[in-house]
Amino acid sequence: MSVTPLHLTDGAVAIGGRPVLRGIDLRVESGEFVALMGANGSGKTTLVRALTGLRPLTSGTVELFGTDLRHFHDWQRVGYVPQRLGAATGVPASVWEVVASGRLTRRRLLRPLSRADRSAIQDALEVVDLADRGRDGVSQLSGGQQQRVLIARALAGEPELLFLDEPTAGVDLPNQLALTAALGELASRGATIVLVAHELGPLAGLVGRAVVMRDGRVAYDGAPLADHQVHDPRFAETHLHHHHTDGHALRHDHSPHVASPLEGGR
């Protein structure tokens, strides 16, 4: 049971040759609830993508449940809520269908949905308060409602290790409370949760550990911080020149942004 769900050793990621994450060690034990925080562009999304295998590491190793990521196949234990829904596709898809795709990790090829699958999908829809919108097209929902669909999709898979990238951005307070209850329930069943957020809001009560990123490194790792502490100048990337006048800051983060829409994106 107590196999470490997530272990990153000396992780580094470069995008298009430019180092984005450097020297990151992160070990998350079973049942932990970690808040990953930091300024815009500090590398939170990149870190989560590296941990889920979407972004290759340039050095270091990720182990999920004690298995090197490259040999990891037990994906039904992992859930992922991306920062935003990808571009709309060319064919309509209903809310129910998108949430049901979160159940794929647990389905075998060419088998119909089992009763357990259906009830997991229904429960996930109820948690995000979209049970009555199941038949509607996702593209007809508001941004916050779409975000809730993505959360339900991850919950439907009943993961043991759940990554959420700003799940509450654009979600109203009642629904944040509902999400808090759902994540609390998941956590009480022993799930491990890594959550990216700028403002924890009602989720703050669940968080047991905070990791703050700054400019691609871990700047703080320890007890949860109050929202205002995260914006401490030590962690903030912007406004650096107000606090440092030693010229060091001038070298900071002004490399030209070299990316065409199709380059480095995958």
Binding site: G53, W75, G90, P92, E97
Partner: protein, 335 residues
């Protein structure tokens, strides 16, 4: 005139059209979902070289076409996956190369352009018994995979990154769709023809999504529409006046497009109606809104008054002229 349907060649053509019409939209739905509507067109162009190779060497064109089409589809998918900035130019080069190569090879083989034309725009009279069997077998495979693996193929096309974290082999599924598209192109070349095959993959999908909100119904309806257009169009071309020859590809595609033109306004009307009928969220009414003067009405709103009646919590709102009104005592409240 209807005698024509008793000829064996016509029955073979109808069978081929039936299966092709079901299979092409089954793949087409995934292609449209991934916004690659022209993929089928590209593969069709490449397959021209395959057909010409068959005519030149005397090997059955079906087999040379399917081989070249699959190779072309895999190549297109690789170029797409690499995401080269000039990917679309590379694809265009491939398309034109395929078409030009086909015309060149046909000429070198001493075949007439008419022979190639049968494959470009379809032909009723040239489908052999063997062709029908191959068509049926390939179509069955395409339909089984397209419907059977629908949950996986849907997830990959809907959100590639999520599918990857769900442990799906995204590259393999994408290649599978490309190969299925190539196979559909090949079987469709005998009825709609290589230059029009893409329409049978795309137009029924465009038509069905006018009326649907879910992926499954879009897929199912597109297959039915494709089958109707395919069989109907083929029959129409067979009924062309004596002395004329109408390639079935043209009638199939035009019939399919007619379906789209008819459904478009219907879809727009349905979407509007559905949007109007959706219940309003059951929030307590805003007391600060000014009540609506009953004198502005020439009638009392009611189930039969013709204005949209929309459930709102425990009562019904009536919508007219940009207002939402609920009856309250002697007047209407603005909600």
């Amino acid at each position: 005139m209807l005698d024509i349907f008793s000829y064996p060649f016509m029955q073979r053509a109808l069978l081929a059209a039936f299966f092709t019409g079901l299979a092409a939209p089954a793949v087409g739905t995934y292609i449209v979902q991934r916004r690659l509507a022209l993929l089928g067109d590209g593969i069709g162009h490449v397959a021209v070289t395959g057909v010409a190779l068959g005519l030149l060497t005397g090997i059955a064109p079906t087999w040379t076409a399917v081989t070249v089409a699959v190779l072309g589809a895999v190549l297109i998918e690789i170029i797409r996956e690499r995401g080269h900035t000039n990917g679309d130019v590379a694809l265009a080069l491939l398309f034109y190369g395929g078409l030009a190569g086909g015309v060149l090879l046909t000429g070198l083989g001493g075949q007439s352009a008419a022979r190639l034309q049968e494959y470009l725009f379809g032909s009723i009279t040239t489908i052999s018994v063997g062709d029908v069997w191959v068509t049926m077998a390939f179509a069955a495979v395409v339909i089984l995979i397209g419907v059977g693996l629908a949950p996986q193929l849907f997830a990959v096309a809907q959100d590639e990154e999520f599918a990857r974290v769900a442990g799906l082999n995204v590259r393999a599924y994408n290649l599978l769709v490309a190969v299925l598209a190539a196979v559909s192109v090949t079987i469709a070349m005998r009825t709609v023809g290589l230059l029009l095959v893409s329409a049978l993959m795309v137009v029924p999908v465009a038509t069905s999504q006018q009326l649907t909100r879910s992926f499954r119904t879009t897929l199912g309806a597109a297959m039915v529409l494709g089958m109707v257009a395919s069989v109907g169009g083929l029959s129409l071309s067979a009924l062309a006046p004596a002395g004329t020859r109408v390639a079935p590809g043209s009638t199939i595609v035009l019939l399919s497009l007619a379906g789209f033109v008819v459904t478009w306004p219907l879809g727009a009307w349905l979407r509007r109606r559905q949007l109007q009928r959706a219940p309003f969220p059951a929030l307590p009414p805003d007391e600060t809104a000014t009540p609506h003067d009953a004198a502005q009405h020439d009638h009392d709103h009611g189930p039969a008054c013709g204005h949209a009646a929309i459930p709102h919590g425990d009562h019904v709102d009536y919508v007219h002229d940009g207002h939402r009104h609920a009856p309250h005592e002697q007047h209407y409240d603005e909600h």
